[in-house]
Symmetry: C2
Subunit: 159 residues, 2 copies
């Protein structure tokens, strides 16, 4: 069980876009170039982020993508869920309701202890991802990676 | 991204086996019957639990499966990892090392902030699963489900 690789791409692109100056945008093609990613597939990932309200797509000659909100207001969880969805990792099939001695529907108004602990663990996972924002990622990044991103952005004739 | 359904089966079978009296075993066929599961596939799941040292397979006419340790000493995490493995949910492909302004190997001695928060969230998930044992599941189960399991076990002519 693995998260789709688009999750890694989306998080890195969110981080990269947080280095733009106000009013600037960056094209999908440029982001694919910076991270060595397949442009067509990255484009789908970015569209998912737009649909989730995390990025804005600006059309026109100076068009491209930018963060739709301040980096402080976009959590890692939002980006992960934009790509992966919100389905639980653990899908309870209610096997306790099968077989020769099944639990009745009224026995099953609450999740069983097994489903409960699996859901509790998922909440712990989601809560950790919710506590970190794009701004946190940017402020904790090494000066090397920040300088690489800024230097490359400045070097572009057009974005 | 979903956990394989064998995780649910393995956890329920571990719980069911905790209701056996000392010296008793239960066959794979009986567990498949109790939960309405495909016997051949359940058998593979149980073999994974034996390989992980969580169940013992007893051969012979009164053979079957039993817990290899006390229920207090088998965690939900151990059962989940016996089926799902221990690979991280998030696979970091180090895309920061690609493209026109790549991070160098020496920049990458530590995970980047993105990988770090993803791994931290996985630790929170695993820690929650590690805190619950089969004995906890049994002690928190409803009296209805405990009675159903015990009553069915007692009703079996052979297991």
């Amino acid at each position: 069980m693995f998260l789709p690789e688009g999750v890694e791409w989306a998080l890195h692109c969110g981080w990269l876009l947080s280095h733009l100056e106000p009013g600037e945008t960056l094209s999908s093609r440029r982001m694919a170039e910076f991270y060595g990613l397949p442009p067509a597939y990255l484009s789908k990932v970015l569209k998912s982020l737009v649909r989730a309200g995390l990025l804005e797509a600006v059309t026109g000659p100076r068009g491209g993508f930018r963060l739709a909100r301040a980096p402080e207001e976009i959590t890692v969880l939002e980006i992960v869920e934009a790509i992966e969805g919100r389905s639980p990792l653990f899908r309870c099939m209610e096997i306790r309701q099968r077989g020769p001695a099944p639990a009745t529907k009224s026995d099953c108004l609450r999740p069983c202890g097994i489903a409960a602990v699996m859901y509790q663990a998922e909440s712990a996972w989601r809560n950790t991802l919710r506590e970190t924002t794009i701004a946190d990622l940017a402020s904790h990044a090494s000066s090397g990676s920040t300088n690489r991103a800024r230097g490359w952005l400045r070097s572009l004739p057009e974005r």
